[in-house]
């Protein structure tokens, strides 16, 4: 291989990278020589630079209006937690909240049910617990239930790695009747946290993983609660606290938690 340009497609990619200033000096030099010596290559180069300059002058970057900046400034001056979903966006004309997925409502029930489990004995203050729940609720209301839809944990786990630099255990429980549905990013306590979703027949189970450095599964029975017909279970796991929420039957959720914890130890 004397030429780095193995195919027409590769040639295009590398020429594009040259136009974008993404090449190292030696590769750039090779491309420059090629442009000088090959008329077809030169024509392609000139088309790319012509397109670039046309875009620069014809399609400018947007500028945020003073009105939008004021709307955004208002976000930061409001106290974030402890308010039921209201945010200006909820009233905005183009957002519709009618169709809220069951899992969203479900996870909102974490509000009172999950709190006791959450910060028990780890020195956090109760305000923070409220904060966690409020943030969690708010995010769920504004987020799609599933950000990455996949039944393959080898897809979901790298997705979390990539998005959050967090690696919760992603386990597929299809053999136990809880196939993996995908993953989602939630905001809890001001931090982005991973949430996994599982199917149970027609229902959805949310499993939220809140990082807790040095945490371990102590084997203790999960704390559980029922609220508004939704089941919530929380337990400590390896480096994360876990919260499972769903509208499945209590026994089903307990079976899910057991199966998950068993699989997590393997």
């Amino acid at each position: 291989m004397t030429s780095p340009l193995a195919s027409t497609e590769d040639e295009r990619l590398i020429l594009g990278a040259y136009v974008d200033g993404e090449l190292d000096a030696s590769t750039a030099l090779r491309i420059e020589r090629r442009i000088e010596s090959d008329p077809a290559f030169k024509a392609e180069f000139e088309r790319l630079t012509a397109l670039r300059s046309a875009l620069r002058s014809g399609v400018p970057r947007e500028t945020t209006s003073a009105e939008l900046r004021a709307r955004i400034a208002a976000i930061t001056t409001q106290r974030p937690p402890a308010r039921v979903p209201r945010t200006p966006v909820l009233r905005s004309r183009s957002f519709e909240w009618r169709q809220m997925a069951a899992s969203v409502i479900v996870a909102a029930s974490l509000a009172s049910a999950g709190t006791a489990v959450f910060l028990r004995g780890d020195g956090s203050n109760p305000n923070e617990a409220n904060n966690i729940v409020a943030e969690h609720r708010r995010t769920l209301l504004s987020a799609n239930p599933i950000d990455v839809e996949s039944s393959d944990r080898h897809t979901v786990k790298p997705w979390f790695d990539n998005k959050l630099a967090l690696s919760p255990q992603v386990i597929d429980l299809v053999a136990d009747g809880f196939p993996l549905a995908g993953g989602r990013v939630d905001v809890v306590g001001g931090k982005l946290v991973p949430a996994m979703l599982y199917h149970r027949h027609a229902h959805l189970i949310s499993l939220v993983a809140v990082p807790r450095q040095g945490g371990r599964d102590d084997g203790a029975a999960p704390s559980s609660a029922t609220q508004d017909g939704y089941e919530v279970a929380g337990w400590h796991g390896q480096d994360f606290d876990y919260y499972a929420v769903s509208d499945v039957a209590k026994d089903d959720l307990a079976a899910f938690v057991t199966a998950w914890r068993v699989a997590a130890k393997q």
Binding site: A43, R47, R61, E62, R138, N144, L164
Partner: protein, 184 residues
């Protein structure tokens, strides 16, 4: 996190990139007004999460949130417009590749003369997979690495989508300009 600290962090991490955020949201949703709603929504999420931003490109971090928010918005409001696939080959069978793969392209001078209206229409016509990467590169000016971070794809895929997006634009602009010249 204390409110003041969170506010300050937001001002440092998020506010400098609002124009980039709006440009991306405008091109993903298709209109400036919808783009503004998406940016506002994304800022709510970013404000909640700003404490978790550590290092790297704050612009890529914000644009990742904007992109996710925009797709959520599209799923709710424009479900038919949202054809996103990781399988680029579907576009080949749709015949798009045939246009892009022409060996002799239009004259560079013709492309250089394309006006904003024509370019806007050409960008709008791009499949979402290609459009988002073109916008991130050509309008927001992100590096390949930043784009790869925002769209969660390998750099190789970013490069090939960007290249195809440009070929599609060149083909479309060349065709439109050629037609206009023929009439004149």
């Amino acid at each position: 996190m204390a409110d003041d600290k969170q506010q300050q962090r937001f001002a440092e991490v998020v506010v400098p990139h609002l124009d980039d955020a709006l440009s991306l949201a405008r091109w993903l949703t298709g209109s400036l007004a919808d783009g503004e709603d998406v940016v506002q929504e994304a800022c709510i999420r970013a404000f909640g999460a700003v404490g978790s931003f550590r290092d790297g490109s704050s612009r890529a971090w914000l644009l990742t949130i904007v992109r996710n928010t925009a797709f959520t918005w599209l799923r709710k409001n424009r479900p038919k417009s949202l054809i996103v696939t990781d399988d680029d080959s579907v576009f080949e069978s749709a015949g798009i590749e045939a246009e892009a793969g022409q060996s002799s392209g239009p004259e560079a001078a013709l492309i250089a003369k394309a006006d904003g209206q024509l370019l806007n229409a050409a960008i709008t016509a791009l499949p979402m997979n290609f459009r988002e990467i073109l916008v991130l590169r050509e309008i927001d000016g992100l590096s390949y690495r930043e784009i790869a971070e925002v769209v969660s794809l390998p750099i190789g895929t970013v490069m090939s989508r960007l290249s195809r997006a440009r070929q599609l634009l060149i083909a479309q602009v060349g065709r439109a300009q050629g037609k206009a010249q023929g009439v004149a």
